[in-house]
Amino acid sequence: MILLRLCFLRNAFGRSFLILAAVFALSSCAAIGRPPLQAEVSGLLAAGDVGGAAGKIVSSQARYGSGNDVLFQLDRALILQMAGRYKESILAFEKAKQRTEELYTRSILNELSTWAVNDARAPYRPSAYERAFMNVFQSFNYILTEAPAEALVEARDLDAKFPLGGKGDLRKTRGFEDNGFARFVSGILYEAAGETGSGDALIAYKQALELYDAYYAGQYVPRVLQESLLRLAAASGDTDLAAYRSRFSGARADSASGKAVVYLLESAGFSPVKESGSIPIPVQMDLVAQVAFPFFVKQEYAARSSRLVFVRAGGVAWNIPSELGVDIEDLALRDMEARKAAVIAKALLRPAFKYMIEANQKDVIEKRSGSLAAGIFGILSSVYNIYTEQADVRSWQSLPAQVRVARALVEPGHYRVRVDGLDRSGTVVSSSDKGERDFVAGKIYFIVTRTLR
């Protein structure tokens, strides 16, 4: 009732107060900071309680906030995958993909509200690198449910999303590179499906090489990719074979004849967390604005490397070390770096925009209602500015910091398999038992795992 009365006030202060209260109420609807449930779930994961995190995330979407449905589905999908609930994880990834597509169309009112309040007013739109990982981790789900044909669909979808050489080419449009690892996984999937004759596997490996070269300026290509390029180029008589032989002289393209091939795809740690930095700026005696900007904070994890261990009956063991497939931590930082200019520009312009309106309104109030009313309005505006001007700190937090890869040629037979996580000094800090497995010559197997420590 009080608000309604104020609405019809001729008094400039009353009207301004009402507008301020309305925008304040609007801003309180938007999640400021990370969704509370995401913080809780991340805490449980960091403590290694995957079951608890999965139980929590399936129970309530509301606590992620209405504009965060993609973020919710992404976290939900990855946590359910960790918990071994693959079918539910598949559904969550599909929902995330579909919603991301729908978010292509931006609401003008919503965009305007990001200028009046903050960026968290806009629905969460995944970064390009996060979109690529939707396909990568969805393909892991299909590998884990032994649906290789569906895993290949993810590889094709990735290709359709990010056509190399086309207008959507991330190397040209985003300043940071599309990740070669996603293409590398596509190549492995094509090869595992026996689609080497069509050239799909070799093409994917070549694209992966191109992207790794763009990202690491030619300084890093995973050894497994080098070997795959040599192997497939030799098998198909590809014209690039000589160049690969000279560049990857240290790599061996051992024949898999009579052996089983075992791939390790190990996700480790957690991607960095976005935090909000802010600087209050006094613009008048009684009017304070604030500039807020997001920045990433890396998350500590112990297992900095790993190895895939095979133990035969009688205890004879051998292992193969994994290598870096993708450094998601670095990718996230580079992505933010690429967008920094736009984020900072908006972070500066928005307070200026708010200040212009507030200063103008303050003058009107002062003229009509006196300096006391103007002073009160100034204080309320300052509180509003400091409360609402928060950086958008939302990100796909359950993503790992790294994905590591290994390829082992294994003598056919019965093995107990485990993945050991090693710290910087090479001490084993985690060990994940992958059970007993029978490996048959000529077949390709996958060990997909997540190391949380």
Binding site: E94, Q98, E101, Y104, T105, R106, S107, I108, L109, E111, A149, E150, L152, V153, R156, D157, D159, A160, K161, P163, G166, K167, G168
Partner: protein, 198 residues
């Protein structure tokens, strides 16, 4: 004041209308294309058209002439080579229905369906009255197998994309491996999305 009330009521009603769930029943024969993805209408359309082409082919009359009976067909695998997760079973069922309805070929149960039928037949040998038992080793063998794939090409430029789904079907003679019929059907869709809405 009066004007404000009328506007307020109208806005409120619009808002409420936007929140309500609406269910509209559609005829299954009606084409619905919401997202540009492969859907039930595509599966049915492709199955009907391709089977029509298939059974109108020369191979049927040639077979009739040679064997003096209708050919027996089994539907094999339809491989999804597209960039979308397509439920191939829906397409296979549409193919089977179109084949049966065409009335020019006979049609036998697929590999997975046969398992259950065989189990029942075996069970009948022990439990059903003799005159009612289905006979063992009396299955009708297929003369031809229908196999195929669904492929897709997507071309995307800001705000709009074209998707082409290409379905390939082949009818293979089970005795000779000869491909007696090859069919192809393409569906092209253009999806436009506006960058901004109110």
């Amino acid at each position: 004041m009066k004007r404000i009330s009328v506007v307020s009521v109208a806005v409120l009603m619009l808002a409420l209308a936007g929140c309500s769930t609406q269910v509209v029943r559609k005829d299954v024969g009606e084409f619905t294309d919401l997202s540009g993805r492969w859907n039930d209408s595509d599966a049915r359309l492709v199955a009907e058209e391709m089977v029509r082409e298939c059974v109108d082919g020369q191979w049927v009359s040639r077979f009739n002439k040679e064997k003096g009976r209708d050919p027996v067909v089994i539907v094999g695998t339809v491989v999804n080579r597209s960039h979308e997760h397509i439920n191939a079973d829906v397409f296979i069922q549409d193919l089977e229905m179109a084949l049966v309805n065409a009335g020019k070929v006979r049609f036998v149960a697929s590999k997975t369906e046969r398992g259950e039928v065989r189990e029942e037949r075996l069970d009948q040998q022990q439990n059903a009255a003799v005159p009612t038992r289905a006979q063992m080793i009396s299955e009708t063998g297929a003369d031809f197998m229908l196999q195929g794939s669904i492929n897709s090409v997507k071309d995307e430029v800001k705000g709009q994309y074209a998707i082409m789904f290409q379905s390939n079907l082949e009818l293979v003679d089970l005795t000779t491996n000869e491909k007696v019929w090859i069919g192809q059907k393409k569906i092209k869709k253009l999806v436009k999305r506006s960058q901004y809405s109110l």
